[in-house]
């Protein structure tokens, strides 16, 4: 192999290495670009006035794209995600039985969100609640597009 051939082969090799690097980098960029965007930041969001939520009563709301159920549990207001932790159906509050029911797979949760019956693998998800005077606020994750629907 003469010097010219050697340099040509070296150039092709270097070009191959750089191309492979660019290709790998492009895959990483595209993967990260396409993965759903999720901000961890939660936002304090007004839901209702506390005197409108009587003991044992629940209220459903959609906050920045998050479906929630607000419950007055023994004068303590708590907020649950209305999305069943099993397969994502919406749970409803059964005031008579004082339980949350999921119509999809007949799951039931008590008023603390613990699983009573059915297949859900964990208790209902909860959100942080803040009472300021008479106003009830819930901290829900920021959702870019849903935020514009509010």
């Amino acid at each position: 192999m003469n010097r010219r051939n050697f340099l040509e082969k070296l150039l092709i090799f270097a070009l191959g290495i750089v191309s492979a690097g660019v290709f790998a980098e492009a895959i990483v960029v595209i993967y990260r670009f396409l993965m759903p965007f999720q901000k961890r930041k939660t936002l304090k969001t007004f839901v209702c006035f506390s005197n409108n939520l009587l003991r044992g009563q629940a209220k459903e709301a959609s906050l920045r794209g998050n479906k929630i159920i607000l419950l007055n549990n023994e004068d303590k207001i708590v907020a649950f995600s209305a999305t069943c932790p099993h397969l994502g159906c919406s749970v409803i509050w059964d005031r008579k039985g004082q339980t949350f029911l999921c119509p999809c797979h007949m799951a039931a949760f008590d008023k603390n969100g613990q699983v009573l019956t059915g297949p859900p693998p964990r208790p209902m998800d909860q959100y942080r609640v803040l009472i300021e005077g008479n106003s009830v606020f819930v901290f829900v994750p920021e959702n870019y597009w849903a935020q514009r629907e509010v």
Partner: protein, 350 residues
């Protein structure tokens, strides 16, 4: 094992690899090693980048007038690497059109459009027109102030075309005004109709390039004392090198100068300075200098001359003889480039 796999594949995929190799491995004149002569491949590289980044942008862009601007803002500021994908889409569009211009200049002055390559030139002009259409429709999708008012002005200019102008304007706008219907139409043009047309015309262009072979300039090759070199791998490696340089340049440029986004569109307030993309500057300035109708007719005339140049050129040669037509061709080409560059620079600085 390797042989077995090859036979297995050949039994199922009835393609003669050797024939494909022969058809790809065209002999390329030596002077194509010069970057000036690689400009035909550069738009193709940019087009590939456009397709990849365009498809990625579609994952987030919402072609709904109320939120289109928000979705572009979301891509630019919130989505990971969104600035880079949008930036490469924008930069590669600019470079694609710039390299097309330069490629045409090279083809013009090396007389590569002459018999039997007239159709290749004409298809090339159509490709440039489609690319400019893609630039215009893409620019309008952003829905910021400048892009909104550029759509207003651009559709009005198209509307001034004699006889069919009003039909073109109504078709482009989807009504009398710029509405959601306009955005939907521009979106369909930008992502379906124009790219499909571009691919079809590109295939035709490449078919003619390959069927006639690359224009061979005896004068240049005799100087080097060599002749041709194989398309694969030498020329392909050149193009890969250009691709790497382009992608690195786009990344660095967009890191420091990410694509801008103005204020959201407001149909009630026209901004002070509305300007189209730089490749329309020349026409835009020309329209300011002459009456509206004359400007439109003049631009159409220039476009038609550009398209039909190989025919005009052969007529010139018949009328004036070989030597005189050669210098006329040179003067016309230089005059056109100087006029266009002057108008573009004039519009850019005012």
């Amino acid at each position: 094992m390797k042989q077995k796999a090859k036979i297995w594949l050949q039994d199922r995929v009835k393609i003669d690899v050797e024939k494909v190799k022969d058809s790809i491995n065209e002999q390329v004149p030596d002077y194509l090693k010069g970057l000036w002569f690689c400009l035909g491949g550069t738009p193709l590289i940019c087009l590939i980048l456009q397709f990849v980044t365009g498809i990625l942008l579609m994952f987030y862009y919402i072609p709904y007038q109320e939120v289109a601007y928000q979705s572009v803002k979301f891509i630019s500021s919130d989505v990971r690497f969104g600035w880079l994908i949008r930036g490469i889409h924008h930069s590669s569009a600019q470079v694609m059109i710039a390299s097309m211009f330069l490629h045409m200049v090279r083809v013009y002055f090396t007389e590569s459009y002459r018999k039997p390559r007239e159709i290749t030139w004409m298809v090339g002009v159509v490709l440039l027109g489609i690319s400019m259409g893609l630039g215009f429709t893409g620019y309008s999708l952003i829905c910021d102030q400048v892009s909104y008012w550029a759509t207003v002005v651009g559709t009005n200019i198209a509307g001034a075309t004699p006889v069919i102008g009003n039909h073109i304007r109504l078709f482009m706008r989807g009504g009398e005004d710029i509405t959601q219907s306009t955005l939907t139409r521009f979106f369909v043009l930008h992502i379906v109709i124009l790219p499909t047309s571009l691919i079809v015309m590109l295939v035709v262009h490449l078919f003619f390039v390959r069927s006639h072979g690359i224009h061979y300039e005896e004068k240049d090759c005799s100087k080097k004392g060599e002749g041709f070199y194989p398309f694969f791998p030498e020329h392909v490696l050149n193009e890969i090198g250009i691709f790497l340089v382009l992608i690195a340049s786009f990344t660095i440029f967009n890191y420091f100068f990410p694509p801008s986004l103005g204020e959201p569109f407001n149909p009630n307030v026209t901004p002070e300075h509305i300007k189209p993309e730089w490749y329309f500057f020349g026409v835009f300035r020309f329209l300011k200098l002459v009456s509206y109708q004359a400007g439109i007719l003049g631009s159409l005339f220039i476009g038609m001359c550009l398209f039909a140049w190989p025919i005009i050129d052969s007529l010139l040669e018949k009328l004036m003889g070989c030597k005189a037509s050669k210098s006329t061709r040179y003067i016309i080409g230089m005059a056109f480039i100087v006029a266009w560059a002057t108008f573009t620079a004039w519009e850019a600085v005012t």
